[in-house]
Symmetry: D3
């Protein structure tokens, strides 16, 4: 422990994944948890499959892209 499941839009770059994993691990390290105990699982979700306000993100946020 701890374990984080992170859900992002599909297209999240490898660079963004590396920074997410390293960054979240560091958040817990600063709380005194040894880094080897931290797991982060990233789930890429197509914008068609993510609904906000009743609409697919591919329509509502047509022009936004993940980092």
């Amino acid at each position: 422990m701890p374990l984080a499941h992170v859900y992002v839009w599909k297209g999240f770059s490898d660079q963004a994944k590396k920074k997410t994993i390293a960054g979240i691990t560091k958040v817990f390290e600063e709380l005194g948890i040894p880094p080897h105990a931290v797991e982060v699982i990233i789930h890429e979700i197509p914008k068609d499959d993510w609904g906000i306000g009743g609409e697919q993100a591919c329509e509502r946020f047509k022009d936004m892209q993940p980092p």
Copy 2:
């Protein structure tokens, strides 16, 4: 809030996704929650990866397809 993670068999159509997102959002709207606060994330799961009664759904429900 609220947030719904919905798991369905792979092959769920775009039309079914739209209806799922709109429909679940409306369920919460009828409880007095503003629609923009509702998130619905759909996860398509291959039938090989979904087990029921000890068997893969691709065997147990060979002839069933998602809507």
Copy 3:
């Protein structure tokens, strides 16, 4: 299938739970899925444990209550 995990703020009333379960089940029934195949699991999350915009919901949405 399908299966929905629904996350709401702690304090969600029994009436709201009943309507959430019945309503989401009906959304899938209207897609042609038999109701007995639909599962809905509600998770009540204390507002202290739900962060939005970097803050706990108990601070950011001090005056809001779940239905």
Copy 4:
């Protein structure tokens, strides 16, 4: 009930999936639960998306493969 979401590295073989589904179902059967009530959902996660100790599993466990 019960329901198990199982997260493994991408590349988990069909044989391993079958054994995971059958095996977990049997664990619950031995507790007196009828097998038809047990659901197991397997999620294959690319090693790039699974972080341990601040690093992607594709780097930290370069030579390990799922069964």
Copy 5:
């Protein structure tokens, strides 16, 4: 890896938890995975919060108890 999130009805006994954790770990061990790499997280869900077929499990399965 692997990681299993297991959802059961509230009231699951300590004995059942021990057997679930040991049993699922053994399923993966038989696939060649070292036991120390297996994590199992059990989530106890009140029967009021688990809907099947549009109804709460506390109504639909009034007389059933978890092991």
Copy 6:
């Protein structure tokens, strides 16, 4: 998006929750995502319900406490 479900041992302090929420939000902010779009949900799991290596964490890590 993004959304993070964080699983920790029960007893995680309010201070640790605040730092987890603020810290994870900042990780995404540094990737160019506006903070109001980031949600973090913390799930406290009793050590009896978290299995590692086939044993409950309350036995295997008897003397460890969450921050």
